[in-house]
Symmetry: C4
Subunit: 373 residues, 4 copies
């Protein structure tokens, strides 16, 4: 196998894509301390294995909010994924459907709720960034569409109260308005396959907003809408309102403080996705895996706890489970795999997670009891 | 933006200036451990963010000693700043005035109390190094002039009881008397814009002492005066005396021990500026940000606590606030910005601090209550 | 001497062997964190020396399970050692016999129980990987043969319930089935002495299984048998059964949890070999030397505790003893020595261990009381 | 000044001397962990400075065993110092005499007790390695000669119960018997000034043993005597005997355990020199500066505590004092200074220690009370 680890896939993705696109995905906020902390904290989780028992028959089947999935890992929501490689959202959703693992679609994906629902009917979750204007008219319509399309869970991302400053994006000129420079051109020239794919498929569009801007809305119009209208924090008031609007499992994402977890549960959340947004929002944030145990302790029995951040192996999934999560989510691992090797890359990364997680389970002697959710 | 971070500005400053000048500003004492500790300790300050609240309306207005400032950051006093780039003091003071943030003028600045007071009337603070000779005649006259010029606060720097050994300065020949070497010449040749600016504006002079040396005093005479007369520790006896002489807020700078903070307050200090002098005086000193909490606890309610050392981002300002400081000060960040890009650089660094601090506040969910001072 | 340390021997081994062979031996599982942890944890063991006593007459004679050995170090079992250099097993066994230190033969060695027993009659221990098929017919026969051949102790390796993923092996194509690539060929070309030796001696065969596959079994047949039949965990039930089948000292290897150690002893084990399998099975496993003290405390007086992992010097042996082990085992140190310099290399590494251990004992002022076993 | 720090002197020494000589001095035992620990532990000693007091009048005069010295630093004993540069012992002794700091002569120095006593009458201490043969006839004669020559203190080094293995020396062929190789020759060729000085002054001889081998003893005979006769631990029995034989202050060197310190004091020692022999004897030994506090606590009021290991600045001396030592000793700092710049280098390093220590004292606000000794 050419890609024995996710790191190999990421290295290949780096070779095939222009730097500004790769950096947009790989980078964090500020000095990337929050990003680095996620990985270091995972590496520091030691597990004392137990032997002498036979776990080969172990099933990794995972029940989340009453639905069965094949593995305790899902795809974390990623906006503008199409920048790294065209059609990323749909390809990843299809792979998740094949693999029977949750796929969380971002509001700012480059596909639409309706298309993803068709591609990934059994594993489709929807992540909302709200559009406060007009008393949340668009937000509520997005929820309505997700419900209509059959999304299993609604994920409310709390940790983007304000746009964060990604230093690499600024350096690369990847800011609004986008100003290509000589170096941008050079970067693109060095990634001819990417350029070709972009030419053929067109620039990534924020398709979820097409209904609200009329049929002729340009890619730039959609970007402008997102940039201008989709701002501000998701407040607890909104959480309460969206809870009312949504019939089904509600997950609150981006939580790091036990009090916030508690608050979310008291407002009716069914799940807490502990996350520092992959180190992309707040450089002083603790590692998600370190924030997890006190949160799990606080809401135990009342909500399902999930976690994301720097998950790149089956062993990481086991670490997440050992620290109290029912399942983990991964973002970059999937997107890099797709940019590296397309749909095959996606099936490969799923296989990596599956085999490695099974191996880690058996090796560690950890019996796999599906936690109540 | 060409300079997304202060590090980018410093890198540009390094390119534009001769090495001995850059090193003089960037370096610390001994092996730079105290310098490194400041940065490492800040990076280690994690903050668990809180979400679900709307802080977009947050004001960063900061009241210090009864006067309002735009942001909880000020310019720390820097002597011989003109060596890095001509007219640094006046340019920085003007920028501070535009930005409405405190500007602390050093006794050994390359401008005069009277000129700075005219340039920065609303934000002018004055930092005193004492001249013990003649029963502190010059020290007291400097205080008198600062008072007459309308300085808002007087800052007494305690942490220079003796000249420290800056290894890089010794290596670069930047000692008294200054002995240019072949390498010095080469350094200057590599920084032609700097050399030109120096030629046009003349060597930096310690202008505050011109009144005491008569109208014809040369630049060397002034340097000699500073080197010979401005020596020895600022004792508690002198603090008491200067307290009597000064009507207005008094800040004691360079404190790292709670007992010293207590002593200063008991002698009438209104503020404590916790600092290890940017790592320039004592290589075994703890990081300022680590020394801060016990000091704040000791003098809480009796004095305003400030801090400086390695502050380069709005997130650092938030860290300072979280650890108990009413405001932070930055030295090198401003000076590097000026050497990198002149007045524009200064406005830019203020913008960086402002935007990043606002972002950090909102992102962290920290409501901003102006601490009593 | 050309090789003052084991690191020098390993460097030489690296030069003389193809990369895939060297990596197979040197590498660990996943990201090599468990491997690195072993070394770092040993380096962190400080020992406060005691002086003023005369220990020059100290004997390093070590009694294990009633038999005397020259030094508290033995050779850990290593499968497929013949890949690094032909005839490694027999050469190392002979060196162990000369040196009077325990030699643990692996089930998947490239020699046979009967040959090793003849070469190393006084120091022969046998390590079992079980073949569950036919109610453990082969496993029990291997035990019978080891008993018949006069093995002193039987070692049951618990920590391979599943095949682990060695990333370097995957990268090097060292997987089943083995697929040589251009790079493999190039690697071999760069190690002509190795290639010659391989040509002369033939590919390494899993000789212990020849009796079960008939006289004409090819090297590939034997590999296939091992790959397909020797799978699955060694369960506590099997431990109990093998305990019944084996008359003599029984050691359980690969234990990291005190409860597992306790379980093994309750089932009749005489010794516990604390090990994380040289970092080759579970990347999140703690360092063996760190797992040792609580295990020793738990089974003290009931079983002899042994340890392995990254032992490369006499000082490491002292560290193992200070942490509670009666003796330590080393794997790679011996194999690298052989690949570096043949039988001379083996005698040399024994001399290094002997002299350094004696020196460390005397230097540290640690009297050497042979622990009861 | 060309050498602002001891590191600059060491770098120059490295340039002027052959590698085997430099390595012999700079290196430690094993993997140099004990060596590195000394430096890291010193760097980790933070000191919270106190301000507002005037310590400019501070005297650094240090009383040790009733005699006054100029500074709390002395020269640690170094054997075969003449290998780094001819006449090192006598030059360093002379510099110590000029500077009024203790000079501890090694038994295996390349000068004689009588010559050093003449060169450094006021600061001469003598360090004994014992020669057990003939009921310590030579040991006792060395003590007698030191007494007759007027040595102020006798230092018994406890931490060489056995020869240690210095890996770099083995690599460089610096073993007994010395076998020059091509590389040795090349090393010497690259250090022509060193070679010339050696030619002029002759190879370094262990002059203290000339009386015992007769007038015609060759350099090799003396080395052989040292190698063969000067072996084995210095036992507590010998300490008691040497205590009886010596009238004057007795210092026991190389102690790291409080119980050993206690034992030494109970046998009549006046001083304890806490040391891990500069990392040259036991790689697992703790840093001397870390071992110091519990030892000082144990013998406080009963003995004077001294420390050595990696002392290279006046700040390090302050650290030693803060941790409880009456004075510190430095070895390599002096020897490197001599190899770098001869007698001037020695005066320079004394000046560095003096100025830096004064500066550190004043800067830290530490009043200097000479501890009772
Ligand atoms: C390119 C990219 C875009 C992202 N967009 C979103 C988003 O639209 N909504 C959201 O809730 N999180 C978003 N995230 C955060 C991820 O959902 C997730 O929290 C994070 O990436 C997990 O870390 P990992 O990528 O290291 O696995 C994004 C992350 C990346 C890398
Ligand atoms: C070039 C330079 C000159 C300085 N001169 C003075 C001074 O004259 N008076 C003073 O109180 N502090 C002086 N300081 C210390 C600063 O006020 C401040 O404590 C320190 O620089 C803060 O760290 P930062 O530069 O990393 O922000 C100086 C610092 C620098 C870098
Ligand atoms: C090449 C190689 C093969 C191994 N094969 C076996 C084996 O067949 N059975 C076993 O119990 N352990 C096996 N091990 C693990 C060793 O017995 C031992 O636990 C480990 O190597 C100790 O670490 P060290 O090599 O750093 O000394 C093997 C190790 C290596 C390096
Ligand atoms: C080249 C060299 C020779 C030494 N010889 C002796 C010796 O003969 N007797 C002794 O007690 N210590 C000896 N030591 C140890 C020193 O006395 C001292 O403990 C150590 O060097 C202190 O560390 P420093 O060199 O880093 O300052 C020697 C050290 C060196 C570097």
């Amino acid at each position: 196998r050419r890609f024995p680890t996710v790191a190999d896939l990421a290295a290949q993705a780096r070779r095939r894509t222009p730097r500004f696109a790769y950096d947009f995905v790989a980078g964090g906020v500020g000095d990337d301390h929050g990003l680095a902390r996620n990985r270091q904290a995972l590496d520091a989780v030691q597990i004392v294995p137990r032997y002498g028992i036979d776990l080969r028959g172990v099933s990794t089947e995972t029940t989340l909010f009453g639905r069965g999935y094949a593995l305790p890992v899902g795809v974390a929501p990623m906006g503008l994924a199409g920048l790294l490689w065209p059609d990323a959202d749909e390809a990843i959703a299809a792979a998740a459907q094949r693999a029977r693992i949750p796929y969380v679609m971002s509001t700012v994906a480059n596909s639409s709720i309706e298309r993803i629902a068709r591609i990934a009917p059994d594993v489709f979750w929807y992540q909302l960034y709200s559009v406060p204007e007009n008393d949340h008219a668009v937000s509520l319509d997005l929820i309505r569409r997700a419900q209509a399309a059959g999304a299993h869970a609604l994920v409310l991302t709390m940790d983007v109260p304000v746009r964060s400053k990604r230093v690499r994006d600024v350096r690369n000129g990847l800011v609004v308005p986008f100003r290509p420079t000589l170096r941008t051109a050079w970067d693109v020239a060095r990634a001819p396959l990417w350029a070709l794919a972009m030419l053929r498929r067109g620039q990534p569009r924020f398709r979820n907003f097409e209904p609200y801007l009329g049929p002729e809305a340009s890619t730039g119009d959609l970007a402008g809408f997102v940039y201008q209208k989709m701002t501000g924090p998701l407040t607890w008031e909104s959480v309460a309102r969206f809870r009312d609007a949504w019939r089904g499992p509600l997950v609150v994402k981006g939580i790091l403080h036990p009090d916030d977890a508690d608050k979310a549960v008291s407002l009716g959340a069914d799940g807490i996705l502990v996350s520092n947004h992959g180190g992309r929002q707040f450089d002083a944030a603790p590692a998600a895996i370190d924030a997890l145990p006190p949160i799990e302790e606080r809401v135990r029995g009342r909500a399902t706890v999930l976690v994301d951040g720097a998950m790149v192996s089956g062993l990481d999934l086991l670490r997440a489970r050992k620290r109290g999560a029912a399942a983990a989510f991964a973002g970059r691992a999937f997107l890099m795999a797709y940019a590296a090797a397309g749909a095959d890359g996606l099936d490969h990364v799923v296989r990596l997670f599956t085999e490695e997680f099974r191996t880690a389970l058996i090796q560690s002697g950890t019996p796999f009891h599906d936690p109540v959710s």
